[in-house]
Amino acid sequence: MIESPHYTPEHEIFRANVRRFIERECLPNRKAWQDACAPPHSFWEDAGKAGLLCPKVGPDYGGAGGDLYHCMIIIEEQTRACFNELAFYLHSDIIAPYIELYGTEQQRRRYLPKMVTGQYTAAIAMTEPSGGSDLQAMRTRAVRQGDHYLLTGQKTFISNAQTADFILVAAKTDPEGGARGVSLLILDVASAEGFALGRNLRKIGCKAQDTSELFFDNVRIPAENLLGGVEGRGFYQLMQRLPEERLIMAMSAVVNMEAATDEAIAYAKDRRTFGKRLIDHQSARFTLAECKTAATVARAYLERCIDLFVENKFDAEAGAMAKWWTTEKCCEVIDHALQLFGGYGYMKDTPIARRWMDARLGRIAGGTNEIMKDLIGRTL
């Protein structure tokens, strides 16, 4: 799974670093974080010290000026250790780029260096209880009053919010404006009166990752915290980021299905039933051949997607395709793999069971797969 021709020696040093961090800092704490339904804030600072956060952020703002492959390497190493339950990429490759691409110079200087060190942790709040993928229906309002906004509303399913220092909140600044009425605001948690963190929700998988409800009751947000300083850009900003976000989800899904396939193959060569190895039964062998093929096809497709992304030819439709197809196949392959493990596959602390529970989220997060098909269907 680490055969990509794009990796440089510098990437490999980064990889060794990531691997060490996950082994030493994450795996021993998995159980504690799962029990707490969140990692402590110090986890992010440790990750920052190890150089794992925001590798893509430019040197002007404290980052390493890396590329998509740094993100890929973190995903690969997480998957290898079966530690996909914390989304490093949410902090580094989804939230940080909003600040870097769309923020004012002052916002970049204020937030990015601290995101790189882990001093600041971040969340992004789009989804509302009344509507998930349907952004235009959002109800959260931000009303301008002099030199600040008053934010009122509610969000849910927000990852990383429990420890977040700031939250990028999508809200309507012009309720009549449709897509042009949405803006992104940076809510500094420490100074946000009227902001309440709701329950840390319990989930099927991704247990070490916190997922929360958020409540805003006339929270005062300084006008200078409007992302980019111009109202009404939020929908456009969100839409423009989606292809890359969905590509990252596809990367994760492909690497995960490769790992599940390899684990199932290893198990089937070891496990004996009815006097022979599991892999010597034709049905098991065919299932594994199918999984291996799916993973190989998916990898070729992913590499094509990455090439197109690098050439700036990866549009909204391409992102939707990559996201739905890889997450769907990932769940299919993992389910087949779990079946081959038999009863062991149903035990919660086995890697395959963990993958099965964690991967299910992929078909929902980042826009449900039905939304992806709707989007593709409109382009036909």
């Binding site: 190989t296 590499e303 030819k313 269907g377």
Partner: protein, 385 residues
């Protein structure tokens, strides 16, 4: 980071086509649409395309595009081959089965033939004077080559061949047959010229589920004497290796056909459902239609990505048997699944032979069987795990 410009739409191909490929593609398209398609029903009825159309294809440069210039060919590359296959597949023309002749039979001569064999066979195959076939499968066993019973016994300066073959495409017209037969030291291949060959007989073209204009025949050999220099390669017993070595490319070709077939089916279905009204709106405006087509379009793009990577690996000389097997089963499975979905979206018209989707459904079914059944592909992959 600077703000990205709006991305372009997903490009049709990632392969490095040049102008010469596009010119050949355009010629092929005109040939299939203007000179073949109008006759399809008649050729279906006859169970084969007439010999004259092979000569015409030869005149247009549509046969054996990859044979080097020193043997009278155009010296093209695999992209020329893809251009021809895609155009034929998209046109819906099955017979004449040019790719079998050009991409499966001719390479045996080119790769394993003696200089004399090449000089004799290749120019005739390029011009369309000779039509080629490969005879491997026997009534008693398909993908299991080692169980073959047709045998060739050396007698002086000749081999005496007895046995029968079946499911032989181009068999009814073939002038040159690459024949697999048992010899003393294992399977050997022979270049059999059928003209005036005593002891050789062809059965009536077999009636098939689809691919009606592509003739498929039984062949019978009853003490047929072929000259000793018809042996392909330097010694007897090389046949199994020769056949196996060619399979990678043959399975790659199957993947190329499969992708073209599914893309055409999707294009036909988008057009049909856009025109067709039901319950006061276009069928395409129903969410189910859009979702099924969105899935099909994604799966076709996934398939093309994998196929094109296999092509690139093949052109670099590195495509292996396992990856070729993966492409073969995966692409043909997807082809059949997508075409079936597309037929469903046509409703009753999809069941009518006048619609291309009905033909595609019938013609496509064989893809999961030929070139090694898909189950054989899974064995190949499974054993390599």
């Amino acid at each position: 980071m600077s703000k990205p410009a709006s991305p372009e739409r997903w490009p049709a191909t990632g392969l490095p086509y040049r102008e010469e490929h596009e010119l050949l593609r355009a010629t092929a398209r005109r040939f299939f649409e203007n000179e073949c398609l109008p006759h399809r029903d008649a050729w279906d009825e006859a169970g084969m395309a007439p010999r004259a159309v092979w000569r015409r294809a030869g005149d247009l440069g549509l046969l054996c595009p990859r044979i080097p210039e020193e043997h009278g060919g155009a010296g093209g590359d695999f992209l020329h081959t893809i251009a021809l296959i895609e155009e034929q597949t998209k046109s819906g023309v099955v017979g004449p089965m040019l790719s079998l002749h050009s991409d499966i039979v001719a390479p045996y001569v080119l790769h394993y033939g003696s200089e004399a064999q090449k000089q004799r066979a290749l120019p005739r195959m390029i011009s369309g004077e000779w039509i080629g076939a490969v005879a491997m499968t026997e009534p008693s066993g398909g993908s299991d080559l080692r169980a073959m019973t047709t045998h060739a016994r050396r007698e002086g300066d000749a081999y005496v061949v007895s046995g029968s073959k079946t499911f032989i495409s181009n068999g009814a017209n073939a002038d040159l047959i690459v024949l697999a037969a048992q010899t003393d030291v294992g399977i050997s291949l022979f270049l059999v010229e059928t003209e005036k060959l005593d002891g050789f007989a062809r059965g009536a073209p077999l009636e098939k589920v689809g691919q009606w204009s592509g003739d498929t025949s039984e062949l019978f050999f009853d003490n047929a004497r072929i000259p000793a220099d018809a042996l392909l390669g330097e010694a007897e017993g090389r046949g199994f290796q020769q056949l196996s070595d060619r399979l990678v490319e043959e399975r790659l070709l199957t993947g190329v056909v499969a992708v073209a077939a599914m893309e055409q089916a999707i294009a036909d279905t988008v057009a049909y459902t856009r025109d067709r009204k039901a319950f006061g709106k276009a069928v395409l405006d129903f969410q189910n239609t859009r979702f099924r087509l969105a899935e099909a379009r994604t799966e076709a793009i996934v398939c093309r990505s994998f196929m094109e990577r296999c092509v690139a690996t093949f052109m670099a000389g590195r495509l292996d048997a396992v990856e070729a097997a993966m492409l073969k089963w995966w692409s043909t499975e997807q082809q059949n699944k997508i075409i079936d979905t597309c037929l469903q979206l046509h409703g009753g018209y999809g069941y009518m032979l006048e619609y291309p989707i009905a033909r595609a459904w019938l013609d496509g079914r064989i893809a999961k069987i030929y070139g090694g059944a898909n189950e054989i592909m899974k064995e190949i992959i499974g054993r390599a795990l």
